[in-house]
């Protein structure tokens, strides 16, 4: 990155299975207003908006930035839509960082949303692609196969998926914005829940959600006015072809590449020790051990041991998803930005009940597609 960039405001909606009280405009407006309030800036001080969103077909609104420009008070301004895949929220944050780092804008509002209740997202991803064989998989069966392959390679015991799910579900109880909060959740309930896509059970899985998230990014001059901005120490996106001899769904090169890039930018040598907290894109609990390896926190085949030892729980060496992660809420296009925002909240000491004491350096991660699209950033309380 060329110029410095910092997060100076964060906001997110209360996520729910169906936010029937708001339109799409109301949903993005709610998150954006909270971020502006947090940053103590007015709409007029925002120079440009980046809007992140997963496939348009999930709501049936094409190029939603054209409609949402009014709700974001952005008429007359540059409004840029980020997408790529389910990592859209991370792609949006990354574009915002690039706009600031390149010196194009000094203050940028990044917003991401999904309102799954307004469409049938499972059905949308099951559509028949013209010219291609019918493949009625859907995302769950894809992840099921990936997790099965991970278990075959790593010999992870069957309870790892349950332990990882219990940790995220208990963490979600501390997050006022989470959608799924089950105060009485137990390991036994998770282990006995319905098998959806072997080895993925119902309670290993993220819900379908409506939600939005927003962050205000500023350059060095803007950030200087704040007591505790979250400085961006590294930010990168990587994508690779999903159908390719080199592509490995379980341990994709794009994830390793992206992680190496942000760690190098941030001067991190041992991510497990150097980072204080991680917010990772884990739509199914079984994906956590796999990501721990892919992103360099554990060596190959050892990621599940960190979970088994409680290293990724509160008080562990690297708490993962203290917010509850995607198991708390998964508004697809927004979920990546929520991970980025939560990591910023942690290093600003503003994560409330799920604050990790003394968090100074955190990583946010978003992924999508066939494990072939990744976005990450590392944020810290000190300037880079």
């Amino acid at each position: 990155m060329t110029g410095r960039c910092a997060v100076v405001g964060v906001g997110q909606t209360h996520h729910a299975a169906a936010r029937r009280d708001v339109t799409l405009s109301g949903l993005v407006r709610e998150a954006a207003e909270m971020a502006l309030l947090d940053a103590e800036v007015g709409w007029g001080e925002i120079e440009a908006v980046v809007l992140g969103k997963a496939p348009d077909i999930l709501e049936g609104l094409m190029s939603p930035e054209l409609h949402l420009v009014d709700a974001l008070a952005a008429a007359g301004k540059p409004v840029f839509r980020a997408y790529t895949s389910g990592n859209a929220g991370g792609m949006a944050a990354s574009m915002g960082v690039s706009l600031v780092a390149a010196g194009v804008h000094s203050r940028v509002l990044v917003v991401a949303f999904e309102k799954q209740s307004e469409g049938g997202s499972a059905g949308a991803t099951l559509q028949h692609v013209p010219f291609e064989a019918r493949w009625q998989g859907g995302t769950g069966s894809l992840f099921g196969a990936i997790c099965r392959e991970y278990i075959a390679r790593s010999h992870a015991p069957a309870h790892i998926g349950d332990v990882a799910a219990l940790k995220d579900r208990q963490n979600a109880l501390l997050n006022a914005y989470a959608q799924v909060r089950r105060p009485d959740i137990t390991l036994e309930q998770i282990a006995a829940s319905r098998m959806l896509w072997d080895p993925i059970r119902l309670l290993h899985s993220s819900p379908s959600s409506d939600g939005a998230c927003a962050v205000v990014l500023g350059n060095e001059q803007v950030a200087a006015r704040y007591d505790r901005p979250a400085w961006v120490h590294g930010c990168a996106v990587r994508t690779e072809p999903p159908v390719s001899p080199q592509h490995d769904n379980v341990n994709p090169e794009c994830g390793r590449h992206c992680a190496r890039a942000v760690y190098r930018q941030a001067g991190i040598e041992d991510p497990l020790r150097d980072l204080d907290v991680a917010e990772l894109f884990v739509p199914y609990s079984w994906m956590e051990p796999l990501l721990l390896e892919n992103l360099g926190f554990a060596s190959s085949g050892q990621g599940w041991r960190l979970i088994d030892e409680g290293a990724t729980a509160f008080g562990g060496v690297l708490p993962v998803n203290p917010s509850g992660g995607l198991l708390g809420a998964n508004p697809i296009g927004a979920a990546g930005l929520v991970r980025f925002a939560e990591s910023a909240m942690q290093v600003r000491g503003a994560a409330g009940l799920h604050q990790i004491d003394g968090a100074r350096l955190a990583v946010g991660h978003a992924a999508g597609g066939y494990s072939n699209c990744v976005a990450m950033w590392v944020v810290g309380c000190d300037p880079p």
Partner: protein, 339 residues
């Protein structure tokens, strides 16, 4: 300060009935752009692709394009549901931010849906306007009517644009054509087709290695207007005026200006809004009217302007792209050759 230049461009437009898939459409164009640029695929660190999943009928549209791209290693690749011109903007931003030294920008368009112009109605307010399903041409006609009512242009001016872009015809004959949506006639509306475009960008250090003549981007920007048609003066394009000032086009002379106007009257609105001091050649490529691969059309305008510079036919050129009903979102890229 980093400088980014266009060092390669290629495009192809084909009939909407062409049955090649996205990658098959894109691959030859990518190869030609890379070859023209003399940039090695291994130098490409940033990739920007764009298309429309609604128009192509595919969710996760980027997945179908990979076979046409330099495959490995993983790159900083972003995919947009937008015109390729916006992918150009993102790639330029990423190169300016130091995320790479060369970029590949691609757009592909295969509007398979039976009526692409009614699919574009899905861009409108989903609660109050979408259910009425106004097609893009009907909305453009409202704009054309507002322009006529403003007293600045007449239907014969629209016909003059049509004869210039479609390479002939008589204005009086054109005015005898029946309306498709008054005051627009069929030839006032672009011919929708399939197509693909690819552009190679490089920072000065890499661009300097090639023997070609880079089209240096001296200004690129975009702005959006409100969506509600009732809240805008449709006969004007204030976002285009503002961007023209932002990028340094307003009040200055260009050898070539390529305008993305899918309807004849929109060219008049846009050129007026840009207020360039002098335009030597306007839309020498023919513009969007004779061939409109929706979502690649804007990138092709900018690429055509860049090609005028790289081929030595222009010193300073600008390209424009638009998205949304009645020119809601506008982007301008201004380019120059070294002296």
């Amino acid at each position: 300060m980093t400088r980014v230049g266009v060092v390669g461009f290629a495009s192809e437009v084909v009939s909407a009935s062409d049955d090649r898939n996205d990658a098959e459409l894109l691959a030859p164009v990518v190869d030609r752009a890379l070859e023209a640029s003399r940039v090695s695929p291994t130098d490409i660190e940033v990739v920007g692709t764009a298309g429309s999943e609604f128009l192509n009928g595919v969710v996760g549209g980027v997945m179908g394009a990979f076979d046409a791209l330099p495959g490995w290693p993983p790159r900083a690749h972003s995919h947009l549901e937008a015109d390729g011109a916006f992918a150009l903007y993102e790639s330029w931003v990423r190169l300016m931010a130091g995320e790479g030294r060369a970029a590949l920008v691609c757009a592909f368009s295969r509007p398979l849906a039976h009526d692409p112009l009614s699919v574009l109605a899905l861009q409108l307010d989903p609660y109050l306007v979408q259910p009425v399903r106004p097609d893009a041409t009907s909305l453009a006609a409202l704009q054309a009517r507002a322009l006529v009512d403003s007293g600045r242009y007449r239907e014969s001016d629209f016909a003059t644009v049509v004869t210039a872009r479609r390479g002939g015809g008589d204005v009086d004959d054109l005015l005898r054509d029946p309306y498709i949506a008054s005051p627009l006639r069929p030839l006032d509306c672009s011919t929708v087709c399939s197509g693909a475009a690819a552009m190679v960008l490089a920072v000065d250090e890499v661009a300097g290695r090639s023997e070609g003549r880079p089209a240096w981007i001296t200004g690129i920007g975009h702005r959006m207007e409100r969506q509600s048609l009732g809240a805008r003066d449709l006969s004007m394009s204030p976002s285009t005026s503002a961007v023209s000032t932002d990028v340094g086009l307003s009040g200055s002379a260009v050898d070539v200006l390529e305008v993305h106007a899918p309807y004849s009257h929109q060219e008049l609105i846009l050129v007026e809004a840009m207020s360039a001091a002098e335009i030597d050649r306007l839309n020498p490529s023919g513009g969007a009217l004779p061939a409109d691969p929706v979502m690649a059309t804007g990138l092709i305008r900018i690429g055509s302007a860049a090609a005028a510079i790289t081929s030595g036919q222009a010193h300073r050129a600008a390209g424009h792209a638009t998205n949304g009903a009645c020119l809601q979102h506008n982007l301008i890229c201004l380019m120059e050759a070294d002296r």
